[in-house]
Subunit: 231 residues, 4 copies
């Protein structure tokens, strides 16, 4: 099981590169094994071009290395806290994808400016508050996870499966690793469309009815988009 | 005949991906068989990477499935209404291509800012009004077709073969599937050029004479562009 | 000789596509044979994907077809007038490349905002005036050539080897076909850089000394850039 | 040793093209051999498509050609002065990459708007002052090096390993050639993100604590990013 997830997480990391979301080592993907609860994550600072599946790091939920010769991603504490807090998620992706990062740097959430957004995110993709000095200086990566959770509040994480970390970039997640990558790709394109839309003079989101219709025809109880309901 | 159209529509859907107009499952193409009047359309929510020609869905003009194991695209009622209303069109394309969608999200038609535009669209590419709550809540996809038709009014659909659906994205069409895809590609590039032009400070369209000249040298009775008159 | 030029012009047309300057049939390249004075040009409205070298059209300087089964590019009268007026040029390129066209649509010349510009164009890339109604209605393509020449005035065409036609797009040229394509590629990138620069708040060109230095170290009498002086 | 560096510098020049930082001949890379102090640099004005490793030029620190049949890059005096002034650097890259050049043309340094920036540059990527007429007219390329050094002042060049030359474009460097190219790629992406961020309305940099945290977790004494400390 974990062996399969190792391969999945390895491929998902490469998918970020192939989809133009990551250059250098600016991103990481993890996945959670449903049965064992173990987490598989990219090693820290390893180049995508030479990275092998066997380089992935297997962790227990507390972050102890179970398997792997490398240190896990520096952002591991953020990933682990998301898994711990949200039992429903099975994959986490962090990137510095260009447009989503620009919104995060601008300290602005991405408003739902059209149905493309509504097809994937049920409302604004929120931006966290800034970390204060203490939160930056101590347990920075853990605190990054905390402000994500603080920002989501009572929102079901699968309903808005992405957050922009203020001044940093996006974290995305999903039922599994594949869905988390899928959401990261969607987020970047939505961030790009929203950027152009704002420059054309529109800042306010679409009407609630249209948001509901598009989100629910794909994700609601009576979803009629696609061939088989995925949730 | 329909077998040939199945292949054409299948390939046209992949062309959207190869031309950068569609990621994930954000688009669909259909075609109408001239002899039988049957419609071939992409199945709903099927991934492009694994989609096969045999996955296309064949419908009668009322939307009854004649052939195919999948549900047709969610946007089928929009496609069908366009075919029903406009006997001259043989192909319909819907995408969420980036720049055209940004204009739709900004609720603005694309003015004819240059001869590239005039070569393909005889005047502004219009943006529909918003759907009201009732229109969103009941028969949403059919109503999307209705506001497209309402917006076109008495315009020959082949003279401005694209419309932006407010807050959503572009629908394009043509004499056949291939021409509809051709127009969708042209629209995206024109939307992009127009975006940059507006940011450089120009908002008003070119003069009527220049619009006429460029449109008519390609599409008019005395067209002299290309090797053989296509219409 | 002309046979060689046919191949050169054919390849140059494909180079436009490979360098992202042209989609559909939105561009054309021609070349002039130094010995015979014959012009080779792309056929009108022929798709790049199926175009063959043998499809090129050979014309005498008056535009009579000497060889070839297709009609020449609609823009042929513009090309011919440029060749007739400027004996020094051996290649002409017309594209609707995105950023250069946006500047043309905005009716603005591209100011020399940096040394990249100065390396290729000795001053502003000018934008023509608009054609008046009569000029559009009669001999449109010839008149397009006339306003290019009017705009250049006494400028050596090889010193600023590109002009933006108002509301239309760029025409570029050079000593030969290859250099014309080279300039078209440079122009598009310079137009793109200038667009971003203007959005960052800078509109005025660099100082005359810096313009002189960069232009002349590549193109002046005492050029010291590159291995062999090309002019 | 120098033979190896010749190959490294050759490949690094091609890497600029493959990473979209350079078209035509708009860039150059050099490297310094640690043992001999010899410099290897791209020849001037040679096309990337036909360039061979053997075309690289080997110079002594004063710029005398030790090996190679071509003239070195026109920008050689700039490279040499950087090597002479900064003993710690082993590679220098100059490009006209699009977004970094736009910032240079706008005469603006790139503020540290997010953690992506902080991961690579410890503070603003500065823009030099303009050269005055005399500095342009005499020893232009040497003076370009001088204003870079003037602008850096007492800053450790490895802490902010890039500068924008006013009205021109970026120069980047690093411990070795590979790191210099790595920084040039990072700079262009950071320049792009910063451009979008500014258009979204944010101009001021991130807090000092966050800048410190991100820079130091990768580059500080207690760096904990990656597998092995590189410095």
């Amino acid at each position: 099981m974990v062996d399969e997830l190792i391969l999945t997480v390895f491929r998902a990391n490469l998918d970020l590169v192939q989809n133009g979301l990551v250059i250098h080592t600016w991103g990481n993907v993890s996945g959670r094994d449903k049965d064992s609860g173990l987490i598989v994550i990219k090693p820290s600072g390893v180049k995508y071009s030479s990275m092998k599946a066997a380089d992935m790091v297997v962790l227990d939920p507390e972050g102890n290395v179970i398997k792997g010769k490398f240190k896990p991603s520096t952002d591991t504490p953020t990933h682990l806290l998301l898994y711990k807090t949200y039992p429903s998620i099975g994959g986490v992706v962090h990137t510095h994808s260009t447009y989503a990062t620009a919104w995060a740097q601008a300290e602005k959430g991405i408003p739902p400016l059209g149905t493309t957004h509504a097809d994937h995110f049920y409302g604004e993709v929120p931006c966290t508050r800034k970390l204060n000095s203490d939160e930056v200086n101590e347990n920075y990566e853990l605190n990054t996870g905390k402000i994500i959770i603080e920002r989501l509040g009572k929102t079901d994480p699968l309903v808005v499966p992405s957050v922009l970390v203020n001044g940093h970039g996006p974290f995305c997640w999903g039922l599994d690793t594949e869905e988390a990558v899928y959401n990261a790709i969607a987020l970047e394109e939505i961030a790009r469309m929203a950027f152009y839309t704002v420059l054309l003079g529109k800042n306010s989101g679409i009407e609630k009815e249209l948001l509901d219709r598009h989100y629910n025809r794909k994700h609601g109880n009576k979803a009629y988009y696609g061939q088989v309901k995925s949730k």
